[in-house]
């Protein structure tokens, strides 16, 4: 369906658009963000101005942007997909070339009023481009090798750039998100099975040849992989952080140690306690009930997104919502698995809760797209 086929008249116009916003989703997003404010207030030792207040301001700005995007028709955003992808790609190349010298820290680009990580924006741009691609592509061609190769290249290009930064967490997320959109678009499962099998064989090959004359990697590279996979092998480095995180997590028990009573975070035993490891503080202070409730909130957000995607008969809208939901899922899944010691530490924030601007900004933009698709769906 091209945008000419939208029955424009049935779409709400003007202020009435706000009636069609998915308010449940807005409330859920605000609820999750509030959990973040509460935790940031607690970690700062009961001070608002350290982390909670800037985070609130950013969230408010994000809300405004979300609504601004929501009232713009979804077909406009679909047409912007290519521009967004190319623009973000240029930014990625720019930080690769100038980020180091010009702006001090790599990965960041200074927009004057705020700093953004182009790799975060790429998560959204990639989802939009792939959704637009499958919206444009003849459905019958979806699984043909040549037409599968195109999105694969679209995914791999930014993945390689981000990997060079180096940012393993974000590149894995880009890869998974892209694959999810392709899967949702109906690409034959055989491709996924074959890729998974090949990947598995490659990993197995790397490990089985270890300690033989034919080993693929150097010994020190194997050692690095060892500590990455099993941080307890390096108890003073990476292992120390993950052990402290598990202690914080576990010591919460059923109901937690109480608001602002978490000793692990208050006494600085927790690393990155206000960013990547904020979930452990929640688990420590509010226990199983607290962290499980957060997981339920996240699942509710996913649920509302999926329902909205399934109700939407516009292909671009469905795919973009599924892609954004996938990004969101990978955010919290990787983060929680990481702090619980089930996944290697790769530096992925807890979405909407961790202190930080880029991922928050990107997520609010993404939810704006979701809302736009929801408001302007075929009725």
């Amino acid at each position: 369906m091209s945008f000419l086929e939208y029955r424009v008249k049935t779409a709400p116009a003007g202020l009435s658009k706000f009636l069609y916003v998915n308010w449940a989703l807005v409330v859920l997003v605000a609820a999750v963000a509030s959990v973040g404010f509460l935790m940031l207030y607690s970690i700062a030792g009961g001070r608002l101005e350290v982390w909670a207040e800037p985070q609130m301001k950013r969230f408010a700005a994000g809300m405004v942007m979300m609504f601004a995007i929501a009232v713009v028709p979804i077909w406009f955003w679909r047409n912007m997909a290519g521009v967004a992808y190319i623009g973000t790609f240029v930014l990625l190349v720019a930080v690769e070339l100038f980020g180091r010298v010009g702006m001090g820290a790599q990965r960041w680009i200074d927009l004057g009023f705020m700093q953004v990580q182009p790799s975060e924006l790429m998560k959204l741009a990639l989802v939009m481009l792939l959704a637009a691609y499958y919206d444009w592509l003849d459905i019958r061609k979806t699984s043909r090798p040549l037409w599968v190769l195109v999105p694969v290249l679209l995914i791999l290009a930014p993945v390689v750039l981000v990997l060079l930064q180096p940012n393993l967490g974000t590149s894995i997320m880009l890869l998974l998100t892209g694959a999810t959109v392709m899967f949702a678009a109906g690409v034959s499962v055989w491709y996924f099975i074959v890729v998974a099998a090949l990947g598995g064989a490659a990993v197995a090959g790397v490990f089985f040849t270890r300690d033989t004359p034919w080993q693929f990697l150097h010994d020190y590279q194997y050692k690095r992989i060892d500590t990455f996979l099993d941080p307890s092998a390096d108890p003073l480095g990476a292992g120390y952080n993950i052990l402290q995180a598990k202690i914080a997590f576990g010591s919460g028990g059923w109901t937690g140690r109480g608001f602002m009573q978490g000793t692990q975070s208050r006494l600085n035993f927790l690393p990155e306690k206000h960013t990547d490891f904020i979930g452990t503080t929640l688990a420590e202070e509010f226990g199983f009930l607290g962290i499980f409730s957060l997981l339920l909130l996240y699942l509710l957000i996913l649920g509302f997104c999926l329902v909205s995607a399934m109700q939407n008969r516009d292909r671009f809208s469905s795919l973009v919502i599924i892609g954004i939901a996938a990004t969101f899922f990978f955010f919290f899944a990787v983060n929680l698995l990481m702090v619980m010691g089930l996944a290697p530490v790769v530096g992925v924030p807890l979405p909407l809760v961790s202190y930080g601007g880029s991922s928050m900004l990107m997520l609010m933009l993404a939810f704006g797209i979701v809302q736009s698709a929801h408001v302007h769906k075929l009725r």
Partner: protein, 646 residues
Amino acid sequence: MRRSSRDSEDAARAVNRRALLLGGAVLALSAVMGARMRYLQVDRAEEYRLLAEDNRVSIRLIPPARGRILDPNGKLIADNEQNYRVVISREDAPDPVDVLHRLGRVIPISEADFAAALAEAGKRSPQPILVADRLPWEDVSRIALNAPALPGVLPEVGLSRVYPRDTDFAHVVGYVGAVSDRDLQELEEPDPLLRTPQFQIGKIGVERWMEDALRGSAGHRRVEVNVTGRVMRDLDRKEGTPGRDLRLTIDADVQNYVQTRLGNDSAACVVMNVNTGDLKAVCSAPSFDPNLFVRGISHTDYNALMENDHRPLADKSVQGAYPPGSTFKMMTAMAALSAGVVNPAHSVRCSGYLEIGGRRFHCWKRAGHGTVSLERALTESCDVYFYDVAMKVGIDRIAEVGRRFGLGARHDLPMSAIAEGIMPDKAWKLARHKAEWRIGDTVNAAIGQGYVLTSPLQLAVMAARLATGKAVVPRLVHAIGDEEQPVAPAADLGFDPAHLAAVREGMSSVMNSGRGTAHASRIVDETMLMAGKTGTSQVRNITTAERARGVISNDQLPWESRDHALFVGFAPVDAPRYAVSVVVEHGGGGSLAAAPIARDAILRAMSDGLPPLSAYPASQRPRIETQHEEMPLRPPEGGPPVLIRA
């Protein structure tokens, strides 16, 4: 691009199918996460709660104040003083090296300290960096004044040991020092206190051997710490028990007088109470300042002490073992008398030598003494008399008597490396040298030469036992805390009082008869008359060549080849109170070098202040007065030594 609505319906259904699959996958992974949460927070909650507690709570020891050491009158010998040191806390100092440089402009830091702190600052460790120790108060206030410019710089206060009577008690009391790895290895279960930073333990002397009483036990406080180990707040605290104060038997003023009297001679002097065994003074000269060791002695100072041929670090009073020379003659006499081989009236003819087995054993007086009785033999220290009776009684009985008087046995005092000495007999020589005992060995031993070795402490005990006839045991610790240490009643030695009286008679004549070898060092005050015996012990063999050239005067020999001068004695003669022994290494003759010191020391012990001039023979009084004036003594209230009439 156009497509049929049928196609789009199919596509939408396909997307929905896949979306449901994805939703299923999400739920499955979420179930894994939920299960993991439950596992960590419910199943293993207890374990992690304990680990969190372990992180949070740290148990800090509170070091107890070390017990002080005092003299019987409560004068301080070892004390604790507040010690300011400055550390840099890494947590508050973003750049410790920079802070260190800035600190160096505020207070003077020695080059060595600065280098050590710089090395410490380069390490990654949560411990604070110690910059300087024993800061004067002005430096502490200067740091406080500049606090804003010195982030993380903290003055800390602790207790450290100080010896206000520095050189006087260096050998007796010893000193404390940092706990070494060897100290820890020597203990089976070291007190955790020993591992606390800056903790000091007794290294030698009373400080070491009374360590258990002095140390006390640590208190502890439970504190909440953050990840860098900084204390956030106290949870609870339990005070420890401070170490117990020790009162020594040694009188600080007598000790100071005797130590000053020994001066820079390489000498030792022991004064003890003959009835209780209480040691009044135990001195070894030259001495050193134990405070240097507490603060960490510099290489220069240490090398100077090590290279000094008078060996200031050695405690000659209890560690030194010297041939007793003629001071041993009382033992030979007591052995001969108690064995019944001679009676007090027995006489021997001295012709200047005694020929035994074709070898001549000379008397110190070449011309000979003529006919000598026991009294005269002691008074004039006739060697031939003792050669003769020793051959009659035999070495084994002499050794047995010597041991009863405390020779060849280690007196148990809380001091370091107490010498056992040697009281040789036939079995000893067989075991030690794998050789038969020869008659010449007996002759040598009879006058305290040859194998016999004794420490000044043993000689003082011997004198005390001669004076009382009782097995007096030396005692150094008067009281631990409030508990006075009991004085064991001395058992009778079991000698015939008549024999003891005869020997004491001889010892009295040594000083009070005009022919006595120590007549010049007599006490004239009737109430304090002194008895004693001089001794001169050879430290080398006189070669035949030297003998051929004639007797060489001691003064012509290099210092380290000269004879040791010895003296033992007690006073007052009628009712003895104190015994004394003096050894002056390479001092020459006992009557000239040792006896005057022994008289001064025993007089000082019997008086409240300086020895009264009236106790000295009139002709010596002006000289003694000058001697008093030139002695830099410590004022009774403590402090640095001063000249009394300066």
